[in-house]
Symmetry: D2
Subunit: 474 residues, 4 copies
Amino acid sequence: MDDLSSKREACGIFGVYGAENPADLIYLGLYALQHRGQESAGIVVSDGTSVVAHKGMGLAPDVFKNGLPANMKGHLGIGHVRYSTTGSSMLKNAQPFLVEQIDRAFALGHNGNIVNISELRRKLEARGAIFQTSTDSELIAHLVLHKKGSLEERLIKAFDELKGAWSLVMLTPDAILAARDPFGFRPLCIGRKGDAIIFASETCALDIIDAEYIRDVEPGELVIADHNGIRSIQGPRRSHSAMCIFEYIYFSRPDSMIFEHGVYQVRKQLGLQLALEAPVEGADVVVPMPASGNYAALGFSQGSGVPFEYGVIRNHYVGRTFIQPSSAIRNLGVRLKLNPVREILQDRKIVVIDDSIVRGTTSKLRTRALREAGAREIHMRISCPPIKFPCFYGVDFSSKGELIACSKTVEQICDFIGADSLAYLSLEGMFRAMPLPAKDFCSACFTGKYPVKVVDEYTKTCLECRTSECLHWP
Amino acid sequence: MDDLSSKREACGIFGVYGAENPADLIYLGLYALQHRGQESAGIVVSDGTSVVAHKGMGLAPDVFKNGLPANMKGHLGIGHVRYSTTGSSMLKNAQPFLVEQIDRAFALGHNGNIVNISELRRKLEARGAIFQTSTDSELIAHLVLHKKGSLEERLIKAFDELKGAWSLVMLTPDAILAARDPFGFRPLCIGRKGDAIIFASETCALDIIDAEYIRDVEPGELVIADHNGIRSIQGPRRSHSAMCIFEYIYFSRPDSMIFEHGVYQVRKQLGLQLALEAPVEGADVVVPMPASGNYAALGFSQGSGVPFEYGVIRNHYVGRTFIQPSSAIRNLGVRLKLNPVREILQDRKIVVIDDSIVRGTTSKLRTRALREAGAREIHMRISCPPIKFPCFYGVDFSSKGELIACSKTVEQICDFIGADSLAYLSLEGMFRAMPLPAKDFCSACFTGKYPVKVVDEYTKTCLECRTSECLHWP
Amino acid sequence: MDDLSSKREACGIFGVYGAENPADLIYLGLYALQHRGQESAGIVVSDGTSVVAHKGMGLAPDVFKNGLPANMKGHLGIGHVRYSTTGSSMLKNAQPFLVEQIDRAFALGHNGNIVNISELRRKLEARGAIFQTSTDSELIAHLVLHKKGSLEERLIKAFDELKGAWSLVMLTPDAILAARDPFGFRPLCIGRKGDAIIFASETCALDIIDAEYIRDVEPGELVIADHNGIRSIQGPRRSHSAMCIFEYIYFSRPDSMIFEHGVYQVRKQLGLQLALEAPVEGADVVVPMPASGNYAALGFSQGSGVPFEYGVIRNHYVGRTFIQPSSAIRNLGVRLKLNPVREILQDRKIVVIDDSIVRGTTSKLRTRALREAGAREIHMRISCPPIKFPCFYGVDFSSKGELIACSKTVEQICDFIGADSLAYLSLEGMFRAMPLPAKDFCSACFTGKYPVKVVDEYTKTCLECRTSECLHWP
Amino acid sequence: MDDLSSKREACGIFGVYGAENPADLIYLGLYALQHRGQESAGIVVSDGTSVVAHKGMGLAPDVFKNGLPANMKGHLGIGHVRYSTTGSSMLKNAQPFLVEQIDRAFALGHNGNIVNISELRRKLEARGAIFQTSTDSELIAHLVLHKKGSLEERLIKAFDELKGAWSLVMLTPDAILAARDPFGFRPLCIGRKGDAIIFASETCALDIIDAEYIRDVEPGELVIADHNGIRSIQGPRRSHSAMCIFEYIYFSRPDSMIFEHGVYQVRKQLGLQLALEAPVEGADVVVPMPASGNYAALGFSQGSGVPFEYGVIRNHYVGRTFIQPSSAIRNLGVRLKLNPVREILQDRKIVVIDDSIVRGTTSKLRTRALREAGAREIHMRISCPPIKFPCFYGVDFSSKGELIACSKTVEQICDFIGADSLAYLSLEGMFRAMPLPAKDFCSACFTGKYPVKVVDEYTKTCLECRTSECLHWP
């Protein structure tokens, strides 16, 4: 899977308290988290009294191409990059979501997906609440501000009613708050740079500003950073977590620590495990599908002793807007991003490592291109099990179209893409490669076992068939 | 060296005769050649009678973001991507250069650098020629159109007067012509897609349109493609060539064939040779500086048996416009692009492979970042000899600022960047890694031995000192 | 006063029910109402079920420069052009304001100013309402949606609590509603085009779409247009109205009917009255300050028998963005817009007609320019009394800076601007020129007598001194 | 005719020598001359040595929306606004045209039309000249630079070969030159601001920078301004001139002096003359078609005693880009710009004054709109004779489509547009209103008598029929 073109990522969030130049730090943090959302970006900063926001469509460098607003001064702030999993793609849906109450501004940035949104929203609307968007973040803001008590009390009450996945950074004029749902679906870490406290989706956003990684916000925890320093309220927590295993497999940057463990090594372990489970005898080279297959391919190579080579080269300019020149030439598309290297592939028996097969059509085209470049045998190895079930906690698999693994056996898929052999990593193998126990992961996309019940009817359709009568549905 | 940020590349050229949709093919070809020039892009297409051109500043996808012009129809055309080595960065300097004579349009795209431009231009101006730019391409057009005879005769005569490096694609309303200077400084290849003839700077531009690579345009050769097919006029050719060795080391895409040999394997050979010449005993990992060090690092790893690891991760969104948020934070710059991976580096003795050290300041920052990420020992290995002399044939080393290798010994450089050891590949080692004899390369940037005498006074300065009294000058 | 540069205008609103192409009609209507607001523009359209909105910063042609959105289909809609009198200039403040309730969308566009906004907003926030802007329109939406009952009942209840000026167009998925405050401060008219019902701030917006003018929405009236046709609910109405007299003097387009009478003739009457009150014996020509002085000048000419001439010509390209080239040349500014015609002015005794003197600095520069162009005597006549008091009902006089008439006598002003004589129209003369009785106008800007008490403290400052201890304050 | 929408104007030129801030003055001058060309704008400035240029598509404020380039310093410069009469609308055709010779830069801006361009260009191309555009200005530059001798000598020689209309401003690194063809078709005046010498198409460009009007450049004269002051070379001059009479009737701004006489009074005289020739008995009001009919209407009113009224109001925002919302509503177009005022027209017998009838379709729609607004009788009066012949000297009548007066009698036109009567000013009447003798005007568009023979075949077509066999052709 190509990590730039497939925008499945939910969102990236960032917060800072106690810095001289919070907007600069947030901007850099969003730049590091850009892979988690390319649709919109926004920053909200406070100087203790007045709150300044700027949001826009596109990447962070596009949104701030004229520089950071001159009046964006203060010592605390939050930022957000977004790819929509709920709500359509419009500026008004961009986050952080800012509430301009007369006495207290309140802003929040959200990563995840609330599954009982319709139910909660109807309840709030019946009490006079006005909704201007269809986003989770507006719902959370309403829920919080309709409660009574201190902000912390309101948050704890609101979290009681929310179902689903939420990692949150929140801003009041003089404090930053961060929270994670009781299952800890999505990551959220805490760092420190001098006296400043940082919150971020991934540690790569700490690295870019040279901040030190302290620990993760715990599942169910609410952390408050203000002029008194940092304090924590541990809310209800389940007996086990449900951390998204796909963060390790594909989402997060390889240089991040996620759930307190390094992603790079997990991916290499997936490759090593794959080499054990599905070796290819007599293979000449191991070739990664760039860029997401690189680490598992290194692991496979080290585990099998088969040399690692860049058999497919990626155009560095991919990722920019590319206007398809004309329909006549559209079928050349596959070569825009990736070019097989004949001198590596010619007459070779190759092992191709990728992290997933989605609809299979791209894999089919790539397999054909590898063969045209001279590969004698092509053995495809996938570094996780087949994805068969939709995600309701913040990952937009459905935008990828129908998943081939929903309707075809591994053998049929191998046949479809035209490989000489195909193997996926087993569920057990995947868990073995992980640094945490299986029970603490959400792996519903592989198993169909959903940690939080999904009540909204929009989820009652099979990802494959888009119908509720489908037999594939668990 | 990072291949996106350092825009030293001269230009990329592309031509096609006999296709149904030449603009589409050219656009894709320029997309594949984008690494050779990011400043401007342009396409000229003819239907045998009328000639349509479109040029603009920026990358090809930016220039054609509204699609290819509807009237850009025909069966032949040329394209160009540019980074200026002569002339400043303005739209009027964008190529292809188009002459709108009443009876015959003439367009050309040029890669290289003419060294006797001032002399030729004064001569032409004295005869009434009007220059609207300071580009080589306008000079060549004038020189050609001031001659008498058929276009081919004029070209041959013009080539007699030109000194320096030129790879050219040219368009008349009904033919495409391609030519290379007698020394063959810059590459130019010929391909075929169905009945269409293609010319391109690199074979990766053939691959993207699924065209077959035939051969290179020979040094001194003029190739004409028109309705009679393809024919060739072999002009004067030197006893040996002077092909740019830097195309193999850094410029060209690794998936291209250059001078009829694959770039990828050359770079791996450079790494293998480096492992022989400058091994690091007891090293734990080989780490490439992404992305240009990847192939030499693979070679070094395979040659030395030290495992290859991605110790430094590159942000995929680098390459887009990045507005520095504020001066306060500018020194974090080095981490915008590259992030060291602690879990790979911690307590390790590492070998870092890069393809050059320019001013040394970036290398110094990176070395420090590697150490902060826990590296115990850092051994820097460079896959070519030190660059000490300016290039007058199309490579803009001078834009990189002063080269540290001009004024410091290897030991001093090692000290400056703070590595535990530093070694460059030897001149002999470099030639040993090459697929062609040393005598057929221009390696003046390493040796100061210039194949074509440089007469213009602007060249009479030392790259290091920018003064003509410098002792470094050969 | 120059009607393009001084953006004092509150807003323009437009609504249509029962047309095939409501977005087209709204767009044209906004184009005709553009003089009432240049800051942002927006359109909301419904097809009975789904509601589509598009808003943006700038003039209507800028906001819709890529055409009307393809999905903006239906048979009803509203539109708005805005110049902010409350809330700063940002996209989120652009109107129509759209509420996306799950079951019922609700949108509104507002012209006027609510004076008890802070009080109402605190009350609503205490009940959990979330405000995302500081605009009147969001307040009105909240107030309406917090009430119980049918939409009509809610509106009537909400109007009871609102104090100040409001002309409103509102949209539900299947109806358009229009309302005017009990004093009728701002205009709002009803028209018909075939079967479609139109609402608009001015009749010029009916003319542009070839619709017929029916009547005005009455002060205190709520008009509903839906599939049952049009019906009316007459809310509480004061014994007399308080229609803004400045709509006749300056705001509205001369070709509009306002408060059911033509603006053009009122302006001419003001000029005729001025000729009676303040004649200039022996004058050679009457010269209007373009473009707003044209009609009063015609009246003055016809009343006095002094010939009308264009002594000052207006650059037609004024109104576009003009970047001041450099500070060195900024004092030439006055000539950018207006150029005196020497052949008309040379050695003449001239009467200059304008509709106001604001700070006096522009008038001073223009008087000097007229003298330099040869005028022998300059007699300034103003077609209304001096403006001395701020407006709290939707006119942003304060943005004009300090009004000279607050602190200087007419004699002192004459002296300041360097005219040979200066006269303003009297209060009585102004009312005599009006087509409606004096008691039905708000003329607080001249008299300081405010029809609706202003409770918010932000209004307790003198327009001149910006302090609450000022003696100028009534 | 509406002076913003009909872009018939050739060009505006401006030059300055000896100012501290030439770019500022040129920018303002172009702003004043904007009505002469809206397609592109450009400025070239020199400091005696280096020459800096900036050009772009659109109005001057658009081209310089980011301010004047910081390096545009010096003491002399020229500027140009363009509407193409030759060459299509592209950036490369924007003027001033700049030649970057090694030793001497040379730039020029041109207003007019060269009629023997093809002949001259073939001659130059045969001698090796390279043309990059199809503009007159490039041709003139080539012609000048191919001559021998001093620049002045070359210019005089070049002018001998040029046929047609040219008003020119030219720049060398240290001098400004201005010239006018021997017939003086197009205007060009000289002004002074302090020590600086100014050249401009119209005096309104002197007024805007507060410069004093000295005199016109004479037909056939070459004026040079440099550090020695100003000097003149009088070239060949015809026994009589051929100044464009249409500059008085429509082109120039009313506040300009053209050919040393004020435009405003000429237009009023045309109206007075029209009142004498074609009175309307019992008329109630005289109504101008805004804005170009205003002055003739004032003259008609003063000559006839019939009151002048603004019966038609112009939308001030016309002139900006207006995207037609949809085809369904396109026929409302006429009301976008102009709105009839019912209270002025109702039951009145009106005289409508316009400066031309082009295709008649717009006049027909407007006449119908006036009638719908209640006018009882409509008597159309045109302030010049019918235009029947194409202009080859810089006015693009042909872009207006077919002229109705080519194929219809006055009676038929009256019938077509639906007026109660129609009268044009007579040829004699027009000349009587002029401040110069008839023999010194070019009035070929009315008479078909062309002062300079037109040799290029592209002119051998009738404006009406676009065929060479047409009987309308003289």
